[in-house]
């Protein structure tokens, strides 16, 4: 894409001043905001992409790719995988890390300044993007979701212009419904999801994570007490390990080390519990960023089976 080493170096230092097309600069800007402060995104973030030449379906595609790659990055850093080839991106990634270290919130911090929003979402729309719910692939997925949840989640409706990705979104919602390992309890799982919603400031995700935590614990105030930072006073040692880990992954997954996995083993959750907690966190983050970036209106009901 960029055969010239000097151009690549400039991109890694600052894409906005690099000699690349304006559309590419808009793409880097969109991705920075998607990763670092998706809750600050406005309809104007999407309008900028349209103004730069993207179609409505391509806008949805970029957000979808952002969500999928968000999972890959957290899975990679949380899994502690070895590099398979030289890190040509090293200098740029190193710069990003240095920037984040200077911020109390790390990755999840205000990024590129927003332009004041110029396009308010219509009150009757499900998101800031256009939809086409007549596409056959979308209709099939919508039917599947309706059967499972009793309604079609607005997130799925908002993504109707890219229906080939629907199997991924449906599986993500399904995996988030309950723990996928024997060791991560429903309470720990619900605590993780709720913590992530606080960190991503996702109004969309909060509808479900609040309902799930209430359903699992019977405590209607726990979601509010949980917050984005410390564990609630009544949290036991295992809950503190899990909540600290989820917070680290959501804020700065690159800070995860083998010590985190060891902590899971020491408190009896094992590798299965660790992988389950990692994926619960990373899928929730990925879906929350997607909902934030596209301005998906919260559903009236949680995306949980009855």
């Amino acid at each position: 894409m960029y055969p010239d080493a000097e151009t690549r170096a400039k991109i890694l230092a600052d894409p906005q001043t690099a000699p690349i097309p304006d559309l590419h600069k808009e793409m880097f800007r969109f991705c920075e905001r998607f990763v670092r402060a998706s809750w600050e995104m406005t309809p104007d973030d999407l309008q900028r992409l349209r103004d730069a030449g993207l179609t409505e379906a391509q806008v949805v595609l970029w957000a979808t790719l952002g969500s999928t790659q968000s999972w890959f990055t957290m899975s990679a850093d949380g899994g502690g995988i070895p590099m398979e080839r030289d890190a040509m991106t090293g200098p740029g990634v190193g710069k990003a890390r240095a920037d984040y270290e200077a911020s109390p919130e790390g990755l999840l911090a205000p990024a590129t300044a927003a332009r004041v929003g110029v396009t308010a979402p219509a009150s009757d729309s499900v998101a800031w993007v256009g939809t086409d719910e007549t596409l056959p692939l979308h209709k099939a997925a919508a039917d599947e979701a309706r059967e499972r949840y009793g309604f079609v989640p607005n997130l799925l409706r908002a993504l109707s212009l890219q229906p080939t990705f629907h199997p991924r979104h449906l599986l993500a919602l399904e995996l988030l419904e309950r723990p996928q390992s024997q060791t991560l309890t429903p309470r720990l799982h619900a605590l993780i999801r709720a913590r992530v919603s606080h960190l991503t400031r996702s109004a969309y995700g909060a509808v479900t994570t609040r309902a799930l935590l209430e359903r699992v614990t019977g405590d209607v105030e726990l979601w509010d007490r949980l917050g984005a930072d410390t564990a609630p006073p009544e949290a036991d040692p295992v809950e503190r390990v899990v909540l600290d880990f989820a917070t680290k992954v959501a804020r700065n997954a690159y800070k995860v080390t083998e010590k985190d996995a060891i902590a899971f083993r020491e408190c009896g959750l094992g590798d299965e519990g660790y992988v389950d907690a990692l994926n619960t966190t990373s899928i929730q983050v990925a879906m929350d960023r997607l909902a934030n970036a596209l301005g998906v209106q919260p559903d009236e009901e949680p995306t949980l089976p009855a």
Binding site: Q58, M74, I81, M83, E84, A96, L107, R168
Partner: protein
Amino acid sequence: MAHVRIVNEAEATGTVAEDYAFISSSYSKILGAGTPTPQVYRTNSVVPEHFRFGAVQNRVLTNDGSHDRDDGPVPGILVMFAISMYSACFY
């Protein structure tokens, strides 16, 4: 070294074995025959449901392994690179 135990191809059964086969075949189409499943998927192999999620993501990203999706004016891989860059993810 990975932080967790990995169920490799030789040990894998059921859906994990199926997903290993699909992911490897998908990458082999663009990187050459016999390309193994990349590390990023493997660390989820102790929980088959999450391993399946990685495989499904590869399916939708590659149009079921055919690698012929129309990305529009910017290659999708560049969008994904930008996400990695701002995530400070070396991988």
